[in-house]
Amino acid sequence: MAEEKKLFKVKIDNISVEVEPGTTILNAARRIGGDIVPPAMCYYSKLQGSGGKCRTCLVKVTKGSEADPRPMPKLVASCRTTVMDGMEVANITSPEVQEARKGVVEFLLLNHPLDCPVCDQAGECHLQDLSYEHGAETTRYEFKRRTFDRIDIGDKIQLHMTRCILCYRCVFTADQLTEKREHGVLGRGEVAEIGTYIHQSLDNNFIGNVIDVCPVGALTDKTFRFKNRVWFLKAVDAHRQCEDPKCCGKTVLWMRGDEVFRVTARKDKYGEVEDWICDTCRFDKKDVKDWVIEGPRNIDRHSVISQGHYVGVHKPKDTLVEVLDGRQPKLLLDIHTVSEVNRPDIDLSQIDGPAHSDDFNKK
């Protein structure tokens, strides 16, 4: 007799969904999709044990279950709370949740330096999106923000501890993807920080994934550092045959012209990677010839990254050459004769780390 799995019926913001027992409220909401999905800064569906740290996914359980219809006394973290049959959850319909989330954002931003103009994550930063959507305009914090010097973790990864919100995602990534974890969270409470204990480089073929999982700009790609803003780059899907069996080889190339500025894993609509990629793909293959390009990446219309991506534009036929009997129009100004920006002889993407003054001054 085939045993039918009993499904739990949950109502999230008055939308019903049936999920398997053991599903968290957050994943049940993601089954429905749309606006009612609580934001998550620390939960990562691909990492076991993640979640429960940042409290941005707080929801109100207005009805515990069919058996016990009392509401839960406090707001609960939806990424850690599993559903019960007949549970009713309020997320965007509850002003209490919205208010609490505003407070959580204020807490997350307490020590955040807000150096978005300098930060390479700006434009694809979850904290930026979250504070735009849920945060207050000002902070009430009057004390000095804690500061750290930036640390090089290996020659490819840059750690800005000031920007870190201690979500533990990178720690879980290193734990579950690489053979040996070499970094973790040191200290407790106010002095907690990500570190390698003794300045040790993280050297592992999959450690680059910590850059992708970092929801803020704490861990960034040093080979891309300050090269360009993400919204000036064109994202294209690409793949290559990777020698590493654990690497899927399916990536997003961030290009400008024919230059590959950055390689990242493909991220879904919740900002989580679809599959992990190895460091060889991420850091060493900065040439278009290494890749098979599939086509432009579909980027959310509301993201700043989609600026300047003119999708579905039909270029009108230039009839000038026909009218001029095949003569090309006279070029009045070749911009490269005057402009010093985007000089054809300087390939910024080929420089190892960030560009410096001497990179531009060389003839």
Binding site: F226, N228, R229, V304, S339, V341, H356, D359
Partner: protein, 169 residues
């Protein structure tokens, strides 16, 4: 045919009389108008010597600002370029090296910054977008030039002189 306006009048094609032919009356009429204008307030100014005051919200030529210590404010965040509806602004960022702290305020700075004044429409969005108070539109015009090359403004044209630095001629 019905006239389109009530002010349409049939043109008088009669040959002129002798009085009309010597034009004396019409010249007098014209001179009266001319002399009347001598006493009126002049609307024009003698431009290169005399200049009209600009409105305080006038949006003219851009400058790149420095802070009180003479360090460049711009961190090449790209917000001016993304706000620019004419796509006139381009830039390339670089990392500040140790020893360059007196030149640039933050660890990232614009190594190259260019505004194509042929493209610029002086809307002032770059000034509004700037989070670092780095770009400002001043109360001057972009000077005219015979060549297109002269309208590509680089950092040396846009940056205000540092304190102590001699002003460019």
């Amino acid at each position: 045919m019905q006239a389109l306006t009530s002010r349409a009048r049939q043109v008088d094609r009669k040959p002129m009389t002798f009085i009309e032919k010597i034009y004396l009356w019409n010249i007098l009429k014209g001179m009266v108008i001319t002399f009347k204008h001598i006493w009126k307030r002049k609307e024009t100014v003698r431009y290169p010597e005399q200049k009209r005051p600009f409105s305080p919200v006038f949006r003219g030529l851009h400058i790149l600002n420095r802070d009180a210590e003479g360090r460049e404010n711009c961190t090449a965040c790209g917000l001016c370029a993304v706000a620019c509806p004419a796509e006139a602004i381009t830039m390339e960022a670089a990392e500040r090296k140790p020893g360059e702290e007196h030149l640039y305020r933050e660890e990232k700075y614009a190594a190259r910054y260019e505004i194509n004044m042929l493209r610029c429409i002086f809307c002032g969005f770059c000034e509004e977008a700037c989070p670092k108070d780095a770009i400002y539109l001043t109360e001057t015009f972009a000077p005219a030039n015979y060549n297109r090359e002269g309208f590509i403004y680089g950092k040396q044209d846009l940056l205000i002189p540092a304190p102590g630095e001699k002003k460019k001629a």
